[in-house]
Symmetry: C2
Subunit: 373 residues, 2 copies
Amino acid sequence: MSHFSLVCTRCAQAHSPSMTTLGCGSCGAPLDVLYESTPDANQSRVVPPMPFHAESPPISLGEGNTPIVPLDATGRTLGLRDLKAKLEYLNPTGSFKDRGTATMMSVAAELGVDAVAEDSSGNAGASVAAYAARAGIEAHIFAPVSAPQAKMQQIGVYGAHTHAIEGPREAATEAAVAFCRENSLVYASHNLSPSFLEGTKTFAYEIASQMAGALPDHVVIPVGNGSLFIGAWKGFHGLVAAGVLDRAPKLHAIQAEAVMPVAAAFAGREWTPQPGAATIAGGIAVGDPPRKQQVLDVLRASGGVSIAVAEAAIASWHARLANTEGIYCEPTSAAAFAGLELLIEAGHVASHDSVLVAVTGFGLKDTPPTNNR
Amino acid sequence: MSHFSLVCTRCAQAHSPSMTTLGCGSCGAPLDVLYESTPDANQSRVVPPMPFHAESPPISLGEGNTPIVPLDATGRTLGLRDLKAKLEYLNPTGSFKDRGTATMMSVAAELGVDAVAEDSSGNAGASVAAYAARAGIEAHIFAPVSAPQAKMQQIGVYGAHTHAIEGPREAATEAAVAFCRENSLVYASHNLSPSFLEGTKTFAYEIASQMAGALPDHVVIPVGNGSLFIGAWKGFHGLVAAGVLDRAPKLHAIQAEAVMPVAAAFAGREWTPQPGAATIAGGIAVGDPPRKQQVLDVLRASGGVSIAVAEAAIASWHARLANTEGIYCEPTSAAAFAGLELLIEAGHVASHDSVLVAVTGFGLKDTPPTNNR
């Protein structure tokens, strides 16, 4: 008997917990975890509820507990009173994905899964490869041939089988799904897995704990598939529901102009991929995110906005963060700062507001061509 | 009036605090920080004394508080009851050096220093470049032309001036020293700076706090210049002196056979660099460490031993850690595990002992050629 079920994010139909149920049997929409009972405030102040039975993730590399650091110099130039960053790149494989992967692979280990496949532009693939190695689970990682070399090398060192797929990002997804079907493997999709989303909740729980009494007014997150964005909201919302917090921050979703399905939908505009349009922010280059509607729901519920930023602004912030704050991040993370600048210009963030930006991936994994030498 | 002075590690002569006093005026040996008074146990349980006046490092990127994770699979194959790793690569620039750099650059900022130079095979250079950027201090980093490309690129992104120096590692040191003399710059040497060493003490304080009541019997550390090794001892020794701990672990210093001045001296053997001898463990390829005598003193005081490991064992452990534990480290860190294997074989570590290994640098920074694809 499980302490949770899976529920459709669109039609609310309930499904039994399973690693292979990744979409609603009725309408096909993505699923969320729903717990049988709501833990009391005292319990949920410390650890959020999780879809496994152990006290802590059985498959763990010490993920989470990432530092929050002030960005005083950047705050001053942006005219902000209080700007901070949470350094999510200081997770065990170099990106925030480890929060979700620890939960997803802990569930897999509890269920006795012995092999998985996953598709990724790099970060999620490296994360799944590492935790699979630790769990003794065989991993097949499908990535576009355009994925950064450092990420693919990292995946290989973890001992995963790498599959480089020609064509757009979506081709890697299709190849992974087909491979799972042909070989009866579990498709451990970080985009679809409800347990992956549960893991990213800890981001919000940590902010509530680390910034006790001074919760930021705004949290700015780069959004591709939106797993950190949705998970952060689940966390903050859960803390408000449990009475631990009296409000949640506004969550803002930043995309690149070249790939902006969420920002376009938020603005009520049609959007289709433009041939040849590309972004150096590879971690958020997702043309058709399966949880797009959930991201839009979180934007509405939290009072946040979604905007898209230009390539030049991403590159500029990538360098600026390193040479003024000592933070060497992926271009994907730099996009969040480019977005913050626009949020201030548009009046969505005021000078007396407090802001926290998620720095999601390490620069060592993906240095843009402009910085190669 | 300062709360500390600098004291010679050989002849005990006292010197006034200064960023430019890096060796004893009488005998030339390296200096250590000596505090005016010993803090009580209650104070030093939380934060070690530091050579600056602020409550916490004024120049900080959230360094430290790295996770300690069990290595059960590896422990089983080695026949060890209790094996853990402290993931020092999850510091802000990807290596343990950030502990020392945060302290050294905080002292520099307090003293109003506006430019520094440093020589490094990569990790310390990246660390100094990042913290200098954050402090608004100009940095010149001198590195051998053989330093890994990923590290040099990282240094450049932080906005430091990089100087690639032909010849052996020592040539970079000489070039940095000459550059400082010619341009009246502060030589921010991680090997010589007493404040850098003070910063690495936090490694031991965290272990004491994270493993309260179950302190490891052995701590195994890869040693080049020995800044983490000496700092760890200062930390443990300080905690014992303050009555917080009743004993310190044995500290073992691992080197590569190709560059083993400490291991040779520990064994009472002469050692000179062999032409053509090289190691993939670039972080510990230091032929003549200026604090060698201090490392030997710590070995004696803690009851540890120093041994050297073969290249094949380093490469093998590098892959093994990634594909069985999900830990992607630098070859330098893998050397520590190769060393642990020899310590067990030689009877220095028993099966019922508890062991902690420092994983000092991220694999993303320096992947050995055997893993390149």
